[in-house]
Protein backbone atom coordinates (compact mmCIF):
# COMPACT_ATOMS: atom_id res chain seq x y z
CA UNK A 1 0.00 0.00 0.00
CA UNK A 2 2.83 2.37 0.83
CA UNK A 3 4.74 1.36 -2.29
CA UNK A 4 5.09 3.95 -5.00
CA UNK A 5 5.90 3.44 -8.64
CA UNK A 6 9.11 5.15 -9.55
CA UNK A 7 10.40 5.20 -13.07
CA UNK A 8 13.77 6.77 -13.64
CA UNK A 9 13.79 8.72 -16.86
CA UNK A 10 16.88 9.34 -18.94
CA UNK A 11 19.23 11.76 -17.25
CA UNK A 12 19.39 15.22 -18.80
CA UNK A 13 23.03 16.16 -18.23
CA UNK A 14 23.51 15.32 -14.59
CA UNK A 15 19.89 15.98 -13.80
CA UNK A 16 18.01 12.89 -12.77
CA UNK A 17 14.28 13.04 -13.14
CA UNK A 18 11.86 10.76 -11.30
CA UNK A 19 8.15 10.46 -12.01
CA UNK A 20 6.56 9.92 -8.68
CA UNK A 21 2.84 10.75 -8.63
CA UNK A 22 2.70 10.45 -4.86
CA UNK A 23 -0.50 11.67 -3.25
CA UNK A 24 0.26 14.62 -0.95
CA UNK A 25 -1.98 13.18 1.75
CA UNK A 26 -0.72 9.62 1.38
CA UNK A 27 0.33 9.48 5.02
CA UNK A 28 -3.20 10.54 6.08
CA UNK A 29 -4.97 8.03 3.83
CA UNK A 30 -2.76 5.21 5.11
CA UNK A 31 -3.87 5.90 8.70
CA UNK A 32 -7.49 6.32 7.57
CA UNK A 33 -7.42 2.77 6.21
CA UNK A 34 -6.10 1.49 9.56
CA UNK A 35 -9.05 3.20 11.29
CA UNK A 36 -11.45 1.76 8.72
CA UNK A 37 -10.27 -1.81 9.31
CA UNK A 38 -10.45 -1.37 13.11
CA UNK A 39 -14.04 -0.18 12.86
CA UNK A 40 -14.85 -3.10 10.61
CA UNK A 41 -13.55 -5.55 13.22
CA UNK A 42 -15.83 -4.14 15.89
CA UNK A 43 -18.74 -3.31 13.53
CA UNK A 44 -18.78 0.25 14.82
CA UNK A 45 -20.38 2.80 12.50
CA UNK A 46 -18.12 5.84 12.10
CA UNK A 47 -19.68 9.14 11.04
CA UNK A 48 -17.69 12.27 10.22
CA UNK A 49 -19.83 15.35 10.96
CA UNK A 50 -18.70 18.51 9.18
CA UNK A 51 -20.02 22.04 8.68
CA UNK A 52 -19.18 25.71 9.13
CA UNK A 53 -18.60 27.01 12.65
CA UNK A 54 -21.88 27.65 14.47
CA UNK A 55 -24.22 25.57 12.33
CA UNK A 56 -25.36 23.39 15.22
CA UNK A 57 -23.15 20.30 15.18
CA UNK A 58 -22.76 20.07 18.96
CA UNK A 59 -26.43 20.79 19.64
CA UNK A 60 -27.33 18.02 17.19
CA UNK A 61 -24.89 15.66 18.95
CA UNK A 62 -26.63 16.44 22.27
CA UNK A 63 -30.08 15.90 20.80
CA UNK A 64 -29.00 12.68 19.06
CA UNK A 65 -27.46 11.37 22.30
CA UNK A 66 -30.67 12.05 24.23
CA UNK A 67 -32.76 10.26 21.62
CA UNK A 68 -30.56 7.25 20.95
CA UNK A 69 -28.59 6.51 24.13
CA UNK A 70 -31.16 3.93 25.30
CA UNK A 71 -31.35 2.28 21.87
CA UNK A 72 -27.64 1.94 21.10
CA UNK A 73 -24.19 2.60 22.48
CA UNK A 74 -22.77 5.77 21.06
CA UNK A 75 -19.88 8.15 21.73
CA UNK A 76 -18.41 11.32 20.24
CA UNK A 77 -14.95 12.69 19.60
CA UNK A 78 -14.96 16.38 18.90
CA UNK A 79 -12.29 18.57 17.33
CA UNK A 80 -11.73 22.25 18.05
CA UNK A 81 -8.80 24.63 17.91
CA UNK A 82 -9.03 25.30 21.65
CA UNK A 83 -11.09 24.48 24.79
CA UNK A 84 -12.89 21.43 26.15
CA UNK A 85 -16.31 23.11 25.88
CA UNK A 86 -17.97 20.93 23.25
CA UNK A 87 -16.96 17.63 24.87
CA UNK A 88 -18.29 18.99 28.20
CA UNK A 89 -21.64 19.84 26.59
CA UNK A 90 -21.94 16.39 25.02
CA UNK A 91 -20.96 14.59 28.27
CA UNK A 92 -23.83 16.37 30.04
CA UNK A 93 -26.21 14.17 28.06
CA UNK A 94 -24.65 11.10 29.71
CA UNK A 95 -22.60 9.68 26.85
CA UNK A 96 -18.83 9.34 26.56
CA UNK A 97 -17.10 12.17 24.69
CA UNK A 98 -13.49 13.20 24.19
CA UNK A 99 -12.10 16.47 22.94
CA UNK A 100 -9.31 16.73 20.36
CA UNK A 101 -7.65 20.13 20.72
CA UNK A 102 -5.92 20.80 17.41
CA UNK A 103 -4.02 23.84 18.68
CA UNK A 104 -4.69 25.99 15.65
CA UNK A 105 -5.00 23.36 12.93
CA UNK A 106 -8.13 23.96 10.85
CA UNK A 107 -9.17 20.31 10.34
CA UNK A 108 -8.86 16.85 11.87
CA UNK A 109 -6.36 14.43 10.36
CA UNK A 110 -6.57 10.64 10.52
CA UNK A 111 -3.52 10.54 12.80
CA UNK A 112 -5.29 12.68 15.45
CA UNK A 113 -8.32 10.38 15.38
CA UNK A 114 -6.17 7.26 15.53
CA UNK A 115 -4.23 8.57 18.54
CA UNK A 116 -7.29 8.71 20.78
CA UNK A 117 -9.22 5.81 19.27
CA UNK A 118 -7.86 3.41 21.92
CA UNK A 119 -9.61 5.42 24.62
CA UNK A 120 -12.99 4.38 23.22
CA UNK A 121 -14.40 0.97 24.07
CA UNK A 122 -14.99 0.09 20.43
CA UNK A 123 -16.01 -3.50 21.16
CA UNK A 124 -19.04 -2.11 22.98
CA UNK A 125 -19.80 0.79 20.68
CA UNK A 126 -22.39 0.76 17.88
CA UNK A 127 -21.87 4.30 16.70
CA UNK A 128 -18.98 6.75 16.94
CA UNK A 129 -19.33 10.34 15.76
CA UNK A 130 -16.37 12.49 14.85
CA UNK A 131 -17.47 16.10 15.17
CA UNK A 132 -14.96 17.83 12.91
CA UNK A 133 -13.57 21.37 13.25
CA UNK A 134 -16.14 23.92 12.03
CA UNK A 135 -14.88 24.64 8.53
CA UNK A 136 -16.23 23.76 5.06
CA UNK A 137 -12.83 23.89 3.36
CA UNK A 138 -9.92 21.83 4.71
CA UNK A 139 -11.80 18.97 6.44
CA UNK A 140 -13.14 17.93 3.01
CA UNK A 141 -9.69 16.70 1.92
CA UNK A 142 -8.96 14.48 4.91
CA UNK A 143 -10.35 10.95 4.98
CA UNK A 144 -10.78 9.89 8.62
CA UNK A 145 -11.78 6.33 7.82
CA UNK A 146 -15.48 7.16 8.20
CA UNK A 147 -18.38 5.16 6.77
CA UNK A 148 -20.39 8.28 6.04
CA UNK A 149 -19.74 11.99 5.89
CA UNK A 150 -22.64 14.13 7.09
CA UNK A 151 -22.59 17.89 6.46
CA UNK A 152 -24.79 20.39 8.26
CA UNK A 153 -25.94 23.39 6.27
CA UNK A 154 -27.65 25.87 8.61
CA UNK A 155 -30.42 28.10 7.32
CA UNK A 156 -28.61 31.07 8.91
CA UNK A 157 -25.61 30.54 6.61
CA UNK A 158 -27.48 31.43 3.41
CA UNK A 159 -28.55 29.06 0.63
CA UNK A 160 -25.58 29.80 -1.65
CA UNK A 161 -22.98 27.73 0.21
CA UNK A 162 -22.79 24.43 -1.73
CA UNK A 163 -21.37 26.00 -4.90
CA UNK A 164 -18.93 28.05 -2.85
CA UNK A 165 -17.55 25.00 -1.07
CA UNK A 166 -18.12 22.29 -3.69
CA UNK A 167 -15.66 19.69 -2.46
CA UNK A 168 -17.36 19.31 0.90
CA UNK A 169 -20.71 18.64 -0.75
CA UNK A 170 -19.18 16.35 -3.38
CA UNK A 171 -17.63 14.17 -0.67
CA UNK A 172 -20.67 14.13 1.65
CA UNK A 173 -23.31 11.41 1.76
CA UNK A 174 -25.98 13.32 3.65
CA UNK A 175 -26.74 17.03 3.97
CA UNK A 176 -28.68 18.15 7.02
CA UNK A 177 -30.43 21.48 6.51
CA UNK A 178 -30.21 22.56 10.16
CA UNK A 179 -31.95 25.31 12.18
CA UNK A 180 -35.08 24.70 10.10
CA UNK A 181 -37.15 26.31 12.90
CA UNK A 182 -35.78 29.68 11.70
CA UNK A 183 -36.98 29.27 8.10
CA UNK A 184 -40.02 31.57 8.53
CA UNK A 185 -37.68 34.44 9.45
CA UNK A 186 -34.94 33.99 6.87
CA UNK A 187 -34.56 34.56 3.12
CA UNK A 188 -33.42 30.94 2.70
CA UNK A 189 -34.73 28.57 0.04
CA UNK A 190 -34.40 24.87 0.89
CA UNK A 191 -35.28 24.08 -2.72
CA UNK A 192 -32.41 26.27 -4.02
CA UNK A 193 -29.84 24.82 -1.62
CA UNK A 194 -30.85 21.25 -2.49
CA UNK A 195 -30.73 22.00 -6.23
CA UNK A 196 -27.23 23.50 -5.99
CA UNK A 197 -25.94 20.70 -3.78
CA UNK A 198 -27.34 18.02 -6.09
CA UNK A 199 -25.79 19.65 -9.15
CA UNK A 200 -22.50 18.89 -7.41
CA UNK A 201 -23.46 15.49 -6.00
CA UNK A 202 -26.62 13.91 -7.40
CA UNK A 203 -26.50 11.09 -4.85
CA UNK A 204 -26.58 13.44 -1.84
CA UNK A 205 -29.36 12.61 0.62
CA UNK A 206 -31.08 15.51 2.38
CA UNK A 207 -32.89 15.83 5.70
CA UNK A 208 -34.32 19.12 6.94
CA UNK A 209 -34.18 19.34 10.74
CA UNK A 210 -34.13 21.45 13.88
CA UNK A 211 -32.51 20.32 17.13
CA UNK A 212 -34.68 22.83 19.00
CA UNK A 213 -38.23 22.04 17.84
CA UNK A 214 -37.21 18.48 16.84
CA UNK A 215 -38.49 18.68 13.27
CA UNK A 216 -36.73 15.98 11.23
CA UNK A 217 -34.99 14.46 14.26
CA UNK A 218 -37.01 11.24 13.93
CA UNK A 219 -35.96 10.91 10.30
CA UNK A 220 -32.30 11.56 11.21
CA UNK A 221 -32.38 8.98 14.00
CA UNK A 222 -34.00 6.41 11.71
CA UNK A 223 -31.28 7.07 9.12
CA UNK A 224 -28.64 6.41 11.79
CA UNK A 225 -30.32 3.29 13.13
CA UNK A 226 -30.59 1.86 9.60
CA UNK A 227 -26.88 2.51 8.94
CA UNK A 228 -25.90 0.94 12.28
CA UNK A 229 -27.95 -2.13 11.36
CA UNK A 230 -26.34 -2.27 7.92
CA UNK A 231 -22.85 -2.10 9.43
CA UNK A 232 -23.62 -4.95 11.82
CA UNK A 233 -24.91 -7.21 9.08
CA UNK A 234 -21.83 -6.83 6.84
Amino acid sequence: MMSVEKSSKAARGNVQCENTNIHLLKANDYVAEIIRSKMKETSTLLINVTSSAGSGKTTLMQKTAQRLKDKLKLAVMVGDLETERDADRIRQTGIFALQIVTGGICHLEAQMVHQILDQFDLENLDLLFIENVGNLVCPSSFDLGEDYRVTLMATTEGDDKPKKYPKMFLTSDLMLVSKADLLPYLPFSVEAVVKDAREINHELEVIQLSSLNEEGIDEWCEWLLAKVQEKKST
Binding site: V4, K6, A11, N14, V15, Q16, C17, E18, N19, T20, N21, I22, H23, L24, L25, K26, A27, G104, I105, C106, H107, V137, C138, S140, S141, K163, P166, K167, L170, R198, E199, I200, N201, H202, E203
Partner: protein
Protein backbone atom coordinates in the same frame (compact mmCIF):
# COMPACT_ATOMS: atom_id res chain seq x y z
CA UNK B 1 -2.11 27.17 8.29
CA UNK B 2 -3.35 24.63 5.78
CA UNK B 3 -0.72 25.48 3.16
CA UNK B 4 2.06 25.24 5.73
CA UNK B 5 1.02 21.76 6.77
CA UNK B 6 0.84 20.69 3.12
CA UNK B 7 4.38 21.89 2.43
CA UNK B 8 5.57 20.05 5.55
CA UNK B 9 3.84 16.95 4.27
CA UNK B 10 5.54 17.26 0.86
CA UNK B 11 8.98 17.51 2.50
CA UNK B 12 8.29 14.61 4.85
CA UNK B 13 6.98 12.43 2.04
CA UNK B 14 10.02 13.10 -0.17
CA UNK B 15 12.42 12.33 2.68
CA UNK B 16 10.53 9.10 3.28
CA UNK B 17 10.66 8.11 -0.39
CA UNK B 18 14.20 9.07 -1.31
CA UNK B 19 16.09 9.22 2.00
CA UNK B 20 17.53 12.28 3.67
CA UNK B 21 20.86 12.01 1.85
CA UNK B 22 19.34 12.18 -1.63
CA UNK B 23 17.24 15.22 -0.66
CA UNK B 24 20.44 17.27 -0.62
CA UNK B 25 20.67 16.94 -4.41
CA UNK B 26 17.01 17.76 -4.98
CA UNK B 27 16.55 20.56 -7.51
CA UNK B 28 12.93 20.80 -8.57
CA UNK B 29 9.59 19.57 -7.28
CA UNK B 30 6.57 19.41 -9.58
CA UNK B 31 3.17 19.38 -7.93
CA UNK B 32 -0.13 18.78 -9.69
CA UNK B 33 -3.14 20.12 -7.83
CA UNK B 34 -6.73 19.99 -9.00
CA UNK B 35 -9.04 22.94 -8.59
CA UNK B 36 -11.14 20.84 -6.19
CA UNK B 37 -8.17 20.17 -3.92
CA UNK B 38 -8.68 23.44 -2.01
CA UNK B 39 -5.05 24.27 -2.62
CA UNK B 40 -4.32 27.76 -3.87
CA UNK B 41 -1.03 27.68 -5.83
CA UNK B 42 -0.04 31.24 -4.95
CA UNK B 43 -0.48 30.66 -1.21
CA UNK B 44 1.30 27.33 -1.42
CA UNK B 45 4.23 29.11 -3.06
CA UNK B 46 4.35 31.62 -0.18
CA UNK B 47 4.28 28.79 2.33
CA UNK B 48 7.13 27.08 0.48
CA UNK B 49 9.26 30.24 0.57
CA UNK B 50 8.70 30.52 4.32
CA UNK B 51 9.57 26.82 4.68
CA UNK B 52 12.82 27.31 2.75
CA UNK B 53 13.99 29.94 5.22
CA UNK B 54 13.59 27.49 8.09
CA UNK B 55 14.95 24.39 6.32
CA UNK B 56 18.19 25.16 4.48
CA UNK B 57 18.15 21.73 2.76
CA UNK B 58 15.34 23.09 0.62
CA UNK B 59 16.74 26.61 0.14
CA UNK B 60 17.87 25.98 -3.46
CA UNK B 61 14.95 23.77 -4.48
CA UNK B 62 12.42 25.25 -6.88
CA UNK B 63 8.74 24.43 -6.78
CA UNK B 64 6.48 24.21 -9.85
CA UNK B 65 2.74 23.96 -9.34
CA UNK B 66 0.39 22.91 -12.10
CA UNK B 67 -3.32 23.50 -11.58
CA UNK B 68 -5.64 21.02 -13.33
CA UNK B 69 -9.27 21.60 -14.37
CA UNK B 70 -12.17 19.50 -13.18
CA UNK B 71 -13.16 16.58 -15.47
CA UNK B 72 -15.82 13.92 -14.97
CA UNK B 73 -16.40 10.69 -16.85
CA UNK B 74 -19.84 9.48 -17.95
CA UNK B 75 -20.05 5.68 -17.90
CA UNK B 76 -23.12 5.68 -20.18
CA UNK B 77 -21.59 7.64 -23.06
CA UNK B 78 -17.93 6.90 -22.26
CA UNK B 79 -17.35 10.66 -22.61
CA UNK B 80 -15.23 13.01 -20.48
CA UNK B 81 -16.63 16.46 -19.71
CA UNK B 82 -14.99 19.48 -18.13
CA UNK B 83 -17.13 20.69 -15.23
CA UNK B 84 -18.33 24.28 -15.60
CA UNK B 85 -19.80 26.24 -12.69
CA UNK B 86 -19.69 23.12 -10.54
CA UNK B 87 -22.48 21.44 -12.51
CA UNK B 88 -21.44 17.80 -12.53
CA UNK B 89 -23.28 16.72 -15.69
CA UNK B 90 -22.21 14.89 -18.86
CA UNK B 91 -21.86 17.25 -21.85
CA UNK B 92 -23.19 14.55 -24.17
CA UNK B 93 -26.29 13.15 -22.42
CA UNK B 94 -26.83 15.69 -19.63
CA UNK B 95 -26.99 13.01 -16.92
CA UNK B 96 -25.35 13.74 -13.56
CA UNK B 97 -22.09 12.01 -12.67
CA UNK B 98 -19.78 12.26 -9.68
CA UNK B 99 -17.09 10.15 -11.26
CA UNK B 100 -14.30 12.75 -11.05
CA UNK B 101 -11.29 11.68 -13.12
CA UNK B 102 -9.31 14.90 -12.82
CA UNK B 103 -9.37 17.98 -10.61
CA UNK B 104 -9.24 16.39 -7.14
CA UNK B 105 -5.60 15.37 -7.26
CA UNK B 106 -2.88 16.58 -4.92
CA UNK B 107 0.22 14.97 -6.37
CA UNK B 108 3.95 15.19 -6.16
CA UNK B 109 4.03 14.59 -9.86
CA UNK B 110 7.75 14.64 -10.59
CA UNK B 111 11.05 15.48 -8.92
CA UNK B 112 14.44 16.35 -10.34
CA UNK B 113 17.78 15.65 -8.69
CA UNK B 114 21.18 16.98 -9.58
CA UNK B 115 23.38 13.98 -8.82
CA UNK B 116 26.98 15.08 -9.14
Amino acid sequence: MHETSIINSVARTLEMEFGEERIHSLERIFLKVGILSNIEPRLLMNAFEAFQQTYPTFSKVSLEIESTPLVIHCAECDVDSEVQNYRFVCKSCGQPSKNVIQGEEMLIHKVEFNDE
